[in-house]
Symmetry: C2
Subunit: 1004 residues, 2 copies
């Protein structure tokens, strides 16, 4: 196409075909089954397995029932068209190849903000995962870029690079249309002409018409056929049925017919099948002896390979010089930039020190594409050192004449020194002959290559990936190193990259080569190329730009430290851009608006005091040639997202929140425990009981019960189905718009609190009560059916539930018996919860309480001591722990504990409980004294039942106890005496019972 018109939809596909064919890809066809993504095509999901090279490209209409919007959303559809490319093995420059394809379809990269934003991918159903990015074009995700690490449950070797283009979005972008339906397909017909009617029909079918019972039957038939094909070792026929299972599952899901447990169950079934198919395929290729292995050209034509800096100069530096190391990467995830910097800050000085290299300040910083270590004044050589070896004792090294003995001569020879140089020194209380070897430091230039490799290879990430077939893992692929000592390259290779003096510039400028003449010029060179290498500086810059942008519309962007941190490591040259969205979307719940901005788009919201303004601020990577273009692109994206949210909210609001409750019957909570509706019915009974035990007022109780009835209803609303994280939030919204009282609405929201560590607690007792009931029901129920968490597996989030119980009660200071609560919850279950399972549940909650108290900073032993007695009531336990910790930190405590321990130890193992003998039963004065003091303090302990009374009592008892034990033989021969004395000691030892087990304290 020589004219300037943007390419049509079909032209885009044809250009991609041509582009990738010319780069050695097989051009493939969409699959003959409905798939959710191009990944499911056997050309990807199977061919990525095993050692054979494979490069392929194809379009793939992809069906995702859940994404259907009846054609009412500008770019969300149940069917969209992916363009899928697989490069196996990694050609070394996949990002550049990909960016070249954008050129080929007419995207002028210099005009736009293109970013690689961390996005990892996992498909439980395929037993597959990979690390990579979403590629953003002016805020719009246009491509998924993934390094496959595992598929079909198998670790991949070599790694495949997967590119998945979203063709409709790219076409909208190129053609400058606002909605997908306006895309021109071929210059005459629009995308809407061709697909809109079909889209609406599929939505109706998927959401309204598909027959659940028949779909379930189909699923079972497909599964049976898949198994039979697997048994017959037929890979592709089996895979076809797995795909049909998957599509049928998606339809069931769109019909709202899949509950939590059922979902897990279906996933498990699909995963099992997918793994069997993968195994079969891998085995088949092995049996066929990997016919593609003899393909000479394993990799793509590597236009911009990593070899270019090979053979760099090697030289010796004399005297001190600055060192710079730049680890050049494909875009690192935000967290990994921070983690990488942190690790290098520790490791770089440590390694230098270990290597006896004197140095000045070490400065470590980084951007998404580079981690940088700068060492000032690195010595030209290691400091010298001596190695000293002890030889024979002096009197045997020289004879009486002072002549060297044979022993000394032999020793000297073995150490390679002249016997004359042996020195006599004192050691270990004797005198010995020593050989002293002086070791001259090696030159820094000589040492650095190994040292830098050790530095780089020592970095670890939470999630790391492999890319080349060398077993090396890193956060993202390393593509180059700059390593200069002074003006000289420090030559080394690692992970198929070679060190040199050439860095790469901004993506927006097509990553131009930046030649670094010397270490000292590094930061200037970077700055000259627009890259803000210094992370702190970058962050300041962003904060300032954001503030200015917000101020320009009379608003402010409140501190969002997490978001700011994230954005800081998404860009190398920040350029904040203010965009706006239609005011009408402000009628959407603010939570929805903000969540979309922050979570999906990394935008900063703009407020006027607490009022949200119809603006957002995005931070582009590299100052765009025309910010208006980038702004318009981002505005289009947020518009689509808000349109989506508005669609849902509007749709949901057609009914009252209560009207959604019956639909909970189709959401399975757990097979044996019934639907979510069954759960709600239990909560309606359990909540008043909880309320009574927490001492709620009649009004609060009424609020709680109403909230219990409605607390899960939003799970059936479209908005929550779409964004699960809005559960509770939408419940509150919809409750208010349905005319429920603000208290009920609030309680619905609060019953989920805290949603994560650091989250708010419920402010209302009603919310707390419903939340408690909900969690007791979950724990009692799931333990009863044997689904307690095991190992790291906690599919139902019971640890969080238990912690929620503990934390809410403790922080609210409300006394509550977990044991009673579990028992009551168990009573309402449709299954039998034995005492044993209840006990396990209680112990599980107590375990959380223990962790939580310790995480609060309470001493380990104090927590143990208190929980032994008061673990059933978190609020009380917490108060007790606090008080006991204070007491135990007081000066006199050791004496108290020692005295108490004398009592406790002697009676601990006694099988019998002796009565407190009357005064005079033991004539010993010390006994008398002890008894007297005991009788004075014991009632207050028993009455108050708290730590301060106990501690006071114990303090009072220290002296009498010590005297008693010093002067009286407890185990008297006389039995009556013995019983009287033991009885007294037993009573004293029992004083902390019900408060804490002091025997568990340190120092006992």
């Amino acid at each position: 196409m020589s004219d300037n018109r943007p390419p049509t939809f079909q032209e885009i596909i044809m250009r991609l075909e041509r582009y990738w064919a010319e780069r050695g890809c097989i051009i493939w066809q969409p699959y003959s089954e409905k798939v959710g993504a191009g990944t499911m095509n056997p050309a990807t999901v199977l061919r990525v397995l095993g050692p054979e090279p494979w490069n392929v490209a194809y379009a793939e209409p992809s069906f995702r029932a859940d994404d259907g919007r009846y054609g009412e959303n500008p770019n969300r559809m149940q069917m969209h068209t992916q363009y899928q490319v697989i490069l196996k093995p990694d050609p070394g420059n996949p990002q550049e190849l990909y960016l070249g394809s954008l050129d080929a379809i007419g995207i002028d990269r210099q005009k736009h903000d293109i970013r690689f934003v961390e996005d990892n991918w996992a498909s439980p159903a395929l037993g597959a995962w990979g690390l990579g990015w979403e590629v953003w074009l002016d805020g719009m995700e246009i491509t998924q870029f993934t390094y496959f690490q595992q598929a079909g449950g198998m670790t991949l070797e070599p790694i495949s690079v997967e590119l998945t283009y979203g063709l409709e979005r790219i076409a909208m972008f190129l053609q400058g249309v606002r909605e997908v339906w306006q895309i021109t397909w071929d210059g005459r017909r629009s995308y809407g002409d061709i697909y809109l009617q079909q889209e609406i029909e599929y939505c109706k079918y998927n959401f309204e018409l598909a027959d659940v019972e028949r779909l379930k039957q189909m699923y079972n038939l497909y599964e049976a056929e898949a198994k039979s094909a697997i048994a017959g070792k037929l890979v592709i026929p089996a895979h076809d049925y797995v795909l049909r299972c998957s599509q049928t599952f998606n339809l069931l899901d769109a019909r709202g017919a899949v509950g939590v447990t059922e979902r897990a169950h279906y996933f498990g079934r699909m995963r099992d099948l997918a793994r069997l198919v993968s195994d079969l395929y891998a085995e088949q290729r092995m049996r066929m002896e990997y016919p593609f292995m003899n393909d000479e050209r394993g990799t793509m034509n590597d236009e911009q390979g990593a070899e270019r800096d090979a053979g760099a100069e090697v030289g010796a530096i004399v005297g001190e010089a600055d060192l710079v190391l730049e680890i050049g990467c494909e875009e690192l995830p935000v967290d990994d930039v921070v983690s990488g910097i942190g690790q290098l800050q520790v490791a770089a000085p440590r390694l230098l020190d270990e290597a006896r290299l004197a140095h000045g300040a070490v400065r470590v910083t980084g951007t998404p594409r580079r981690l940088v270590v700068y060492v000032e004044k690195l010595a030209g050589r290691q400091t010298d050192e001596e190695l000293v070896f002890r030889g024979p004792p002096a009197n045997r090294a020289q004879d009486a004449d002072g002549q060297w003995t044979q022993a000394a001569i032999g020793f000297a020879r073995s150490r390679g020194v002249a016997v004359e140089s042996l020195e006599m020194r004192d050691a270990d209380g004797g005198r010995y002959a020593f050989a002293v070897q002086p070791v001259a430091g090696r030159s820094t230039a000589e040492i650095l290559p190994d040292l830098l490799v050790r530095l780089v290879s020592g970095i670890r990430f939470e999630k790391s990936m492999r890319w080349a077939s060398d077993g090396i893992a890193f956060s993202r692929p390393i593509r180059w190193f700059v390593a200069l000592l002074g003006e000289q390259v420090v030559p080394f290779s690692y992970a198929r990259a070679h060190s040199g003096r050439v860095s790469r510039g901004l993506r927006s400028l097509n990553s131009p080569d930046i030649v670094i003449t010397s270490a000292a010029s590094y930061f200037d060179a970077m700055a000259a190329n627009g890259i803000v290498v210094d992370r702190a500086q970058r962050q300041r810059l962003i904060r300032q730009q954001i503030a200015e942008a917000a101020a320009s519309v009379g608003g402010a962007a409140p501190d969002e430290p997490a978001l700011l941190d994230e954005v800081t490591d998404l860009v190398e040259q920040p350029a904040a851009i203010l965009g706006s969205f239609e005011e009408r979307y402000l009628s959407l719940p603010a939570d929805v608006l903000i969540k979309v901005m922050q979570k999906h788009q990394r935008y900063f919201p703009v407020y006027q005091s607490t009022r949200l303004l119809p603006y957002f601020i995005t931070v582009a990577n590299g100052a765009p040639r025309d910010p208006a273009v980038v702004r318009a692109g981002n505005e289009g994206v947020i518009r689509a997202r808000y349109a989506d949210a508005a669609f849902f909210v509007e749709h949901d609001r057609r009914q009252s929140l209560e009207a959604f409750t019956p639909k909970l019957a189709t959401l399975t909570f757990q097979e044996q425990l019934g639907s979510m509706l069954d759960k709600v019915r239990r909560l309606e009974q359990l909540t008043p009981w909880v309320a009574a035990h927490l001492g709620l007022s009649a009004e609060e109780t009424a609020t709680a019960v109403r909230a219990a009835s409605l607390c899960k209803s939003d799970l059936a609303t479209s908005m929550v189905v779409e964004m699960t994280s809005l559960q509770g939030i939408m419940g509150r919204e919809y409750a208010l718009s349905s005319g429920e009282s603000p208290a009920v609405a609030q309680a619905i929201f609060e019953h989920y609190l805290p949603r994560s560590s650091g989250d708010k607690r419920p402010a209302s007792l009603a919310g707390l009560a419903v939340g408690l009931a909900n969690r007791l029901d979950s724990i009692a129920g799931l333990f009863a059916v044997g689904l307690e968490p095991s190992g790291s597996a906690d599919p139902f989030g019971l640890r969080r539930d238990a912690l929620g119980i503990v934390q809410n009660l403790a922080e609210a200071g409300l006394s509550f018996s977990v044991r009673d609560g579990i028992a009551e919850a168990a009573r309402l279950l449709p299954v039998t919860a034995t005492q044993q399972t209840q006990d396990k549940a209680i112990a599980f909650i107590a375990g959380r309480l223990e962790n939580w108290l310790r995480d609060e900073g309470s001493p380990y032993d104090v927590v143990q001591a208190v929980l032994a007695e008061r673990g059933d009531d978190p609020a009380v336990a917490r108060r007790t722990v606090a008080a006991l910790a204070v007491a135990a930190a007081q000066p006199g405590w050791a004496a108290v504990l020692t005295a108490y321990a004398r009592c406790k130890r002697i009676v601990r193992k006694l099988p019998e409980q002796y009565p407190l003998a009357a005064e005079g039963a033991d004539p010993e004065p010390a006994t008398q004294a002890l008894l007297t003091v005991y009788q004075i303090v014991a009632p207050s302990v028993q009455a108050a039942g708290d730590v301060s009374a106990l501690v006071a009592a114990l303090h009072a008892l220290v002296a009498p106890i010590n005297t008693f034990f010093d002067q009286v033989l407890v185990m008297a021969d006389d039995e009556a005496l013995r019983r009287a004395r033991l009885g007294l000691v037993q009573h004293i030892a029992a004083l902390p019972d019900g408060i804490a087990d002091l025997a568990l304290l340190q120092g006992f």
Copy 2:
């Protein structure tokens, strides 16, 4: 691609995409469901409906389970890749556009034999049909080219042109590889690398593993969902399920799980669904007000339009001149060339004569691309004529003075003549005034345009098609006319084509323009361009070329008149080419080899006496530049076909024929009548009974019974599943190779005889007996379950079965009671056959017998007369008819019949049967004489029971009868007398009983 390497598989697709995109097609994607053909993609099957233009092109992997060969056939696979193009409406030059696409993918058309061979298409399941061709490239079908006439049960307007390329075949051809697996996909990987394993797996699944019960359940679920989607007016979701029904049906079929009736039943269900979906789509587009209608560019760029000869010169010819009319068509089907020539031979002279155009000889001939009428010496004007009108009687036209009356004046004025010119003439016995108008003939040039349009439009074909939106139908599209009267064009237009002087040359030369200067030069111009216009000449040429080709390898090609006729009209310039095939294929049954050659490839087999040689002769259209290239292509085709047959035969021979018998249990004969195996079990019982009644020897009976057991077993063999027409033939083959006796093998073959009218009869009694049993079972059974033929519908071929019974028995002269046979067959059925249904079956067979006898030339009345008495026994009936026909043709027969009629008529209605009175009971001599003669002749009639005895008797009775009736009053008053006379007449009238009902004869 600028280099000379042939295009890769993917390059072919990309070139086709580019080619068709540049010609205004939307580029589409393969469908997301498994389809049997690109036609099933909604982009074809739905978009061809309704008035909107639509041009589209796409690749489509097409799945046909039955075609699977486990990867063992060079080009037959269960999956192949179609490239599908739809041009709607017909652009006017679709053949040229198509041929241009062959250029685009690198096929040098001048090197090869490209032919358009009639191939019509109908999909009962889609309610669709169209007319068109297979496009042959050196004998290999590479494309289906169809003008859709109907789809979804709807008549299409406008017509769509469908091109379906077979990509693998084209790739094999271009790349010069012998099997599909060797095709290079992208220059490195082969088609086999990518698809062979999958092909084998699918074959295993389709033929061996797919679970019939589960497939049936799936089918029902799909159907239910399709219905529900249709009820919800969801076109595409419904269509998807129709496709799944179709795919599931294909799998069931491949598993051999679909019987005859079930098949019809499934087809009916699918057709119903497909029609509903089509209706829904058509209605939807109407409701949407046909959004594509406002597409300005309705048709493709018409590179070689039909307009070029418009505005041809008009001139007046004086004097006689020759006329040539060439109707230029896209390739006409063979039968239509003959039919067109035949019709023009009648119509052309008739129209000229009606138009009063004197002319010399009319010569009509034609080729596949042109029908030609040549008229010698056509007069320049019509002959003059007079129109004569009768006016008033002479005596009222002139008064007594001879003056014209007012009546005469008025009449003359009304006829536009001067009153003076009226003439008095005699007419109808009176004398009248007549007006005589002389009519001068118009010039031929003036008349011819209309006349030629009438000539062309008057041609009718058995199957005709529409192409442009003018309602005109013809065998194939008319694209040009040459119409010259002398040197002048006869200007007219018809069916969007315009007359002129430009004809088109051979396809192999890219149809160059041939300018015809005058009618007289037409044949020379054609000859100069290599076109053998004269059909007879072409046929002679072919016969001669074939004979020479066969002789070149020492063989001969026996006369195959039908094939020769066909080939004559497949070419315009015959060029016979001898090819060979591997000798090893000669081990295949000759029937198989010949059927493939003749039926599939239109090749002539070569024999040495009766021995088939490993050669074939094909007749190319246009002398190829390099015959070796064309030969090699054709050899590749026959190789693949024979490989296919060999695959089947080898596969089948792994088991004995008997081993296939149990598999008949999966072939349903008819739901209520059970499987084919059930039928065989019945035949095993019915055959001995039939044998006994036909008087077979013990040995023959044993042969028949064994043959009955095996007669259907070949239906379960792969070869017969593949080519049903080989049933019986393969049964014989496999019986012999399984060690059955030659007699049994022959009987298996013969039980199907005759397979069509004109076919052989069974030579053995065993074969005849099994065939009879088989047909009796079918007729008795299917009538019993109410499936007798109705109207033109005879899905089970019962008419042919009945005719087979009649013909075999009659021609073998074997007496057999059809009534008894039906009763016995009925007795063995699993259902009750009432006497009523048996009677219907018997009457049905008798009806066939009647038709057959009449078709043999027997007089209608004789057949009627005989069948009334002997219709139950075909052989006897036939003999009787023959004898009676002879007798009735004798001179004295009229007297005999008259005399007999006197007897028969008088007693016909009598309710009572009187005894033959003793001699003397009636004293009348005439009565006595008649009685005496009767008593002499009657015993011989009764004894012989044949026509000659009867005729002799009747002859003897003529005189006595006539005398009796002349002299005696039969209805005498005396009751005794009356009874005696009536009794005698009754007995005489009853003489033909059991032989013929003479009352049904003409002249009675």
